[in-house]
């Protein structure tokens, strides 16, 4: 069937910011959809609020809007652009919910816009729990017993029918938000209230518990001619009861019998037909009772999902791209498979390897959060790995996580503790399972505690048995005190087997108590090297054209014994009998497995990606890596991407010329380097992950492109950096180092309070605190850290009321161009990743900005930056302090690029290959006629009990951008996009710490003058009264009822301004912030944030919000004529 010609333009709705449950997989799917639709000749109008995405690159769609994802804004865009159709299935639950809202409000009918990809009826049938249940019953499929309730009053009736434990599933939420398991009436009542609040339609399904059943997912696609294909089956290692996003998952399903699989397959086809998803992909989840084989359908997502991205990467089948083409009328048999070039999309993928996805959590950032895994997703990212066996893939997945785990290291726990950890699912349960096997617990006992399928447990046991075998050698080494002989005591066939089981060199070295390099050398000497196999969608049945590879140490089915006859050849003879290790001829053990990598002779560059998403290192770095690929392709280089994050655009098979889906560890990266022999490697774009490999790679003789590792060290080493600033006559906040509590007290006295303290051995602002007096410092030293000469505590002067400024610049070694100067909204002390910022600065004087420019250039030249750099300044009065210099891509680069229209990451990549800035077309700084504001998005709603106060430790998962003619409107848009809509009416509640009170009078006066009534706690109200401003006073929670939380719960408050200091005040006011969060009341916890919000509220009331596409903004930006280069 030919593509549709009655539609010419299609509006694509993006997913918005990265949040838990909706990460960058939708950037991947949106990007693919944009490419696919434009390839078919359609005009694509893209709307998304997240600037750190490839899909919002101006080249990706015909028209791009970075605007808040609200029905109102979307209507404005529809009115302006008049698309013929809207495709909502690529932007996750956000896009789907918006499309439903637009349709129900009649907007789509009003402008004659057709919803393609999934019809409204199909979406409702799949998303509405009751309709879905009815549909399943109609086609004879079982769903867990359940009752849908729409109000709290119906709770008793429901639980009588279902019994405990009961699963609560709110309708139309993403990532299982609000979902929980209730084991008793108390939990049931509390969780139900929350779930009803969180469901946009206030519906909750109370469902029979199938905890402990096996969980499966099938990815299904259907076209308008009713052809259906199953793309992939996925099995959860963890049984039912844990959100699939938090489960370790394995593809293809490993423990299903053929009969069970065929039943599931038939059911999936029946479901997609019954629900009516007629052009696109769906994800269907099943639960299977291991005792009697009873199969129930859990849910269906009538859209591209997180699992679709995983299935795409696992099979090589581009689900989003195909789904977009199906949405415009093409059929599966008409769409060619890019990988084989001869099979159509109707050819179901077949895989001859095992894929393991491992979730990445960030509980260390939220110590108060409940770490038990339930039906609500809590992970912030994931890694994926591919191996020939489950054992190999799972061990690769573990080392891909970058949590300093290189295998199943032992855990410190007694047997009772282990049993408790096995029974209650937590993120580290698999390590406890491994340890329980290590201490001799039986498979059956572990199965009864965890409900993990015995097949997986036996595999883990094989790994542990292998460990014990290696450790027996280690014991021999220690006994004989023959450490130098250690490598020779490890038999090559055992080493080979350990590698086949996925053991990393580092883990083997750890077990033998020797260093990793020795194992690497031993491996090389004995010819035990990885081979690379291709992900080809067809299990080698057809030739694959896209080199998408993974490493393996698989044992070949056949060993080739190649014998030559003749004098000169005899010495090379290799025989199967030569397995015994011999130091004189270590090459005699060499089974041969085919390597499918086949490197080319082209000039090539390897780009190291950023690994799994986490707080502090997210999609922004993937954006930079993808731009590096684009740049190098333009320069004619072959690009080789190495990454292990299945959600990203960088791991799409058609982004780089060659893709290695591998862990980002020294061992795995070196293996690729040895195979490919590139001209160099780029480590600057993937954040800390590749950066920490720079020195080890250089030591192995690999050329690091761009800023040298020595220059990076100059910026990171405190002493060298201090000397550098001294040389350039630049200021830095006073600082000191302490090895003990007394030293810390002395240092703080010298620096003067307040000071910022942090341990030297953690990254990302962890355990960092602002300390105002000696008592608090002692408390911090006692509780938070153990200072020692190996682990000193760093003490810096905290610059109170300073304005923090982020600067991104690019340098080719001769010229330095400022990409953007961003003024933070929140004061210095809030982690830069959590702070909102404006580009260009909204309040800094020109003189300060010029000095910042000069400082940036001086630093770039002195450090000899080649590529990107980011500097954080603090401005206090007329003084400028340097806080930090990072000679690498920063997380603000995508934001700056979107605001200015200049792809700086791409430019920087070219510069790193020797192209000058001038040759790259970048000769001067860009002057903006508009304002862009970046705002951070936080996961506090996922971690009830966690205080949403901001501090030096980063907690945000994503970001949004607001762009408009002035700061107020841009800020307001940024807030709306982050879910913090500026109220246009209603009471404003204020409760601030003493230090912030002096800033209040002008702000409150402004609020009152623009018509907002203000209510404040007694202390704040008294201060305002003293300054001549009358406001209503309200009780704090501890002062009796009615108190402020009652007001919030009753919906009387529209905006909360709450700043606190000290642990007690923080505890006392926690309920205010928590209830604001729960009842979706806009709030700010900084005085600077409040000031910006009030300005925005004033402007929004006076002026109309306008929309303009990114392409229109960029056309209007003009280049500053004053050249900022210094030659």
């Amino acid at each position: 069937m030919p593509k549709r010609t009655d539609i010419k333009s299609i509006m694509l709705i993006g997913p918005g910011p990265i949040i838990i449950g909706q990460a960058c997989e939708f950037d991947y799917s949106g990007t693919q959809a944009c490419k696919a639709l434009r390839e078919e000749g359609y005009k694509v109008i893209l709307v998304n609020s997240n600037p750190a995405t490839i899909m919002t690159d101006p080249e990706m769609a015909d028209v791009t809007y970075i605007e808040p994802l609200t029905a109102g804004i979307l209507e404005m865009i529809i009115e302006k652009e008049r698309p013929d159709a809207v495709l909502p299935t690529m932007g996750g639950q956000t896009a789907l919910n918006l499309a439903v809202e637009l349709s129900e409000k009649g907007v789509l009918d009003k402008y004659n816009v057709e919803m393609i990809g999934a019809r409204l009826q199909a979406i409702k049938k799949a998303e509405d729990r009751q309709l879905f249940k009815e549909a399943m019953t109609k086609i004879g499929l079982e769903t867990p017993k359940s009752i849908l309730i729409s109000s709290f009053d119906e709770k008793d009736k429901a639980i009588e029918h279902i019994k405990f434990p009961a699963i609560l599933r709110p309708s139309f939420t993403l990532g299982g938000t609000g979902g929980s398991i209730a084991y008793n009436i108390e939990e049931y009542n509390a969780n139900l209230r929350k779930a009803l609040e969180l469901s946009p339609v206030h519906q909750v399904l109370i469902e029979e518990s199938v905890i402990g059943w096996k969980e499966y997912e099938l990815e299904v696609m259907r076209d308008c001619m009713d052809n259906v294909v199953i793309i992939c089956s996925i099995e959860n290692f963890d049984p039912m009861g844990i959100h699939t996003g938090d489960s370790i998952t394995v593809a293809p399903a490993q423990t299903l019998s053929d009969k069970e699989y065929q039943r599931m397959r038939d059911a999936s086809i029946a479901i997609i037909r019954e629900i009516g998803v007629d052009t696109g992909g769906s994800n269907i989840q099943f639960a299977l009772n291991p005792d009697d084989g009873r199969m129930t359908v859990i849910e269906m997502n009538p859209r591209v999902s997180r699992s679709s991205a995983l299935a795409s990467k696992a099979t090589g089948f581009p689900i989003a791209k195909i789904a977009a083409k199906l949405a415009v009328g093409l059929t599966l048999d008409e769409i060619p498979n890019d990988i084989t070039r001869e099979t159509p999309a109707s050819f179901e993928p077949v895989i001859d390897y095992v894929v393991v996805k491992f979730p990445r959590f960030a509980f260390e950032k939220f110590p108060e959060a409940d770490t038990v895994l339930t039906t609500q997703m809590k992970s912030v990212g994931e890694s994926m790995s591919i191996g020939r066996t489950f054992k190999e893939a799972v061990q690769k997945a573990i080392r891909s996580l970058e949590i300093e785990s290189y295998g199943f290291e032992p855990v410190k726990a007694d047997s009772e503790e282990i049993k408790a950890k096995l029974k209650t699912p937590g993120w580290e349960r698999i390590w406890y399972i491994a340890h329980s096997l290590r201490i001799g617990m039986g498979i059956e006992e572990i199965h009864s505690l965890t409900h993990t399928d015995p097949w997986f447990l036996y595999n883990l046991k094989q790994i542990i048995d292998m460990e014990l075998e290696i450790m027996a050698i280690a014991a021999g080494i220690k006994k004989n005190k023959s450490l130098s002989l250690a490598p020779y005591l490890m038999p090559p066939d055992l080493l080979r087997k350990a590698k086949e089981y996925g053991f990393s060199d580092r883990r083997i070295a750890g077990l033998l108590d020797i260093d990793e390099k020795t194992i690497r050398q031993l491996r090389k000497n004995t010819g035990i090297n990885p081979v690379y196999k291709m992900v080809d969608t067809c299990a080698a049945e057809f030739k694959a054209y896209t080199p998408y590879m993974y490493s393996t140490y698989e044992k070949p089915f056949y060993r080739i014994e190649d014998k030559k006859i003749g004098k000169s050849e005899d010495k090379n003879a290799k025989t199967s009998k030569a397995h015994n290790f011999s130091t004189s001829n270590p090459l005699n053990f060499k089974p041969q497995t085919e390597c499918e990598a086949r490197p080319t002779d082209r000039k090539k560059v390897v780009i190291l990606g950023s690994g799994p998403n986490r707080i502090g290192q997210g999609i922004e770095f993937d954006y930079c890596c993808v731009h590096a690929v684009f740049a190098l392709k333009e320069l004619g280089y072959e690009t080789i991407m190495v990454n292990c994050n299945p959600e990203t655009v960088s791991t799409d098979y058609d982004t780089a010329d060659r893709l290695y889906f591998e862990p980002l560890t020294l061992e795995d990266v070196l293996g690729i380097m040895e195979k490919e022999k590139p001209e160099g490697v780029i480590v600057q774009f993937g954040g800390q992950t590749p950066l920490k490999l720079a020195v080890p790679l250089e030591q192995e003789g690999i050329r690091i492109l761009g800023t040298s590792p020595d220059s990076i060290d100059m910026a990171e080493d405190r002493k060298r950096f201090k000397a550098l600033l001294h040389k350039l006559d630049l200021r830095q906040p006073e600082s000191g180092t302490a090895m003990s509590v007394n030293e810390a007290i002395q240092a703080a006295k010298g620096i003067t309070y307040p000071v910022m303290v942090r341990p030297s051995y953690v990254l990302g602002g962890r355990a960092m605190e602002i300390v105002y007096d000696e008592k608090s410092l002692k408390e911090y030293m006692r509780k938070a850290v153990k200072a020692s000469p190996e682990h000193p505590v760093l003490i810096d002067k905290y610059l109170e009321d300073a304005i923090e400024v982020d600067v991104d610049a690019v340098s080719d070694g001769a010229d330095v161009i400022i990409c953007g100067i961003m003024e933070h909204i929140e004061e210095a002390g809030i982690h830069s990743g959590d702070s909102a910022c404006s580009l260009p600065p909204h309040s800094l004087p020109a003189e300060i900005i010029n000095r910042i420019r000069e400082h940036t250039k001086a630093l770039a030249k002195e450090i000899n930056v080649i590529g990107l750099m980011n500097i954080q300044f603090a401005v206090k009065g007329h003084d400028i302090y340097i806080l930090e210099v990072n000679p690498r891509a920063s997380r603000t680069i995508p934001f700056v690029s979107k605001a200015t229209g200049v792809p700086f990451a791409k430019m920087a990549a070219k510069v790193m290959l020797g192209i000058s800035l001038e040759e790259a077309g970048l000769t001067s700084e860009i002057e903006l006629e508009h304002m862009a504001v970046k705002e951070s998005v936080f996961p506090f709603d996922r971690f009830m009990g966690v205080d949403p106060l901001l501090g030096p430790e980063m907690k945000s998962t994503g970001e949004v951008m607001g762009i408009d003619k002035d700061f107020g409107r841009a800020y307001s848009k940024a807030q709306a996009a982050s879910g913090n809509t500026m109220p246009l009416a209603g009471k404003i509640f204020i409760s601030v710490k003493d230090k912030d009170k002096q800033a209040l009078p002008p702000m409150v006066s402004k609020l009152i003058s623009i018509g907002y009534p203000v209510i404040a706690t007694r202390g704040t109200a008294a201060y305002l009264r003293k300054n001549g401003i009358e406001v209503e006073a309200v009780n704090k929670v501890l002062e009796g009822r009615p108190h402020i939380v009652d007001y919030i719960k009753n919906g009387e408050i529209s905006f909360v301004i709450n700043t606190v200091t000290g642990a007690k005040a923080q505890r006392d006011s926690f309920s205010i912030r928590e209830s604001a969060l729960r009842h979706r009341v806009t709030y700010t916890t900084t005085i600077a944030g409040a000031r910006a919000a009030i300005n925005a509220m004033e402007l929004v009331l006076k002026k109309q919000i306008s929309i303009r596409s990114l392409q229109e903004y960029h056309q209007k930006s003009k280049i500053i004529k004053t050249v900022n280069r210094e030659k």
Binding site: P556, F557, Y558, R559, I560, E561, D562, K564, G566
Partner: protein
């Protein structure tokens, strides 16, 4: 060349031409082993052509009649014999050592075409006889595949069998080698090593 004569060597002045159909030292395809013979492939092809001819006659004559059958039989025989001889013919490798212009040409079949690799004669550093043996290594894997195929009511012929080839290869000065003759060691194969070495003057 018959089964016993696995290769042919002809010498004309400064030229030695070595021809053989046995040049692949690879483990045979397990799944299609013994199925896609030249005869079976020719039969399939002839049947397909017959079907087309039948449809064409049917369309032209507006109906089928008795005469069609002999026509189809004749077509089948001709196409079968023709495709067996030309399309599914035995693919051979031809190696021409030419002292006159100091070249060696290795002409290999690629589907129905032939590809020639030409190089200087002195790039051959030696002519080597050897053996290539495929020994089952991953016994567990082989047993697993056998188990799964048994569950599906079939078996994979030859899986897990040891195969050994005697090979004759040209070792080149760049370290690579070209296998020009490879024959199973089921009986005692004759290897033309000395003849080629003598011609090239390499010992």
């Amino acid at each position: 060349m018959n089964d016993k004569e696995r290769y042919q060597i002809t010498t004309e002045g400064d030229r030695l031409v070595f021809t053989t159909v046995f040049f692949r030292a690879e483990k045979e395809s397990m799944l299609y082993k013994g199925i896609y013979t030249r005869e079976f492939s020719s039969m399939l092809f002839a049947s397909m052509v017959c079907a087309l001819v039948y449809m064409a006659i049917d369309r032209v004559n507006y109906g089928t009649g008795f005469l069609h059958i002999p026509v189809i039989i004749i077509v089948f025989v001709i196409v079968f014999l023709g495709s067996r001889k030309f399309l599914f013919c035995e693919k051979n490798i031809e190696v021409i050592f030419n002292k006159a212009d100091n070249t060696v040409s290795i002409i290999r079949p690629v589907f129905i075409f032939r590809r020639t690799e030409k190089m200087p004669l002195d790039s051959i550093s030696s002519v080597v006889a050897g053996s290539k043996k495929f020994v089952p290594e991953n016994i567990d894997g082989i047993r697993f595949v056998e188990k799964i195929s048994a569950q599906h009511g079939s078996f994979v012929p030859g899986l897990g069998d040891e195969e050994e080839y005697v090979t004759l290869s040209l070792k080149l000065s760049d370290g690579t080698e070209r296998i020009i003759y490879a024959v199973r060691t089921d009986d005692e194969p004759d290897i033309p090593l000395k003849q080629i070495q003598r011609f090239l003057g390499i010992t």
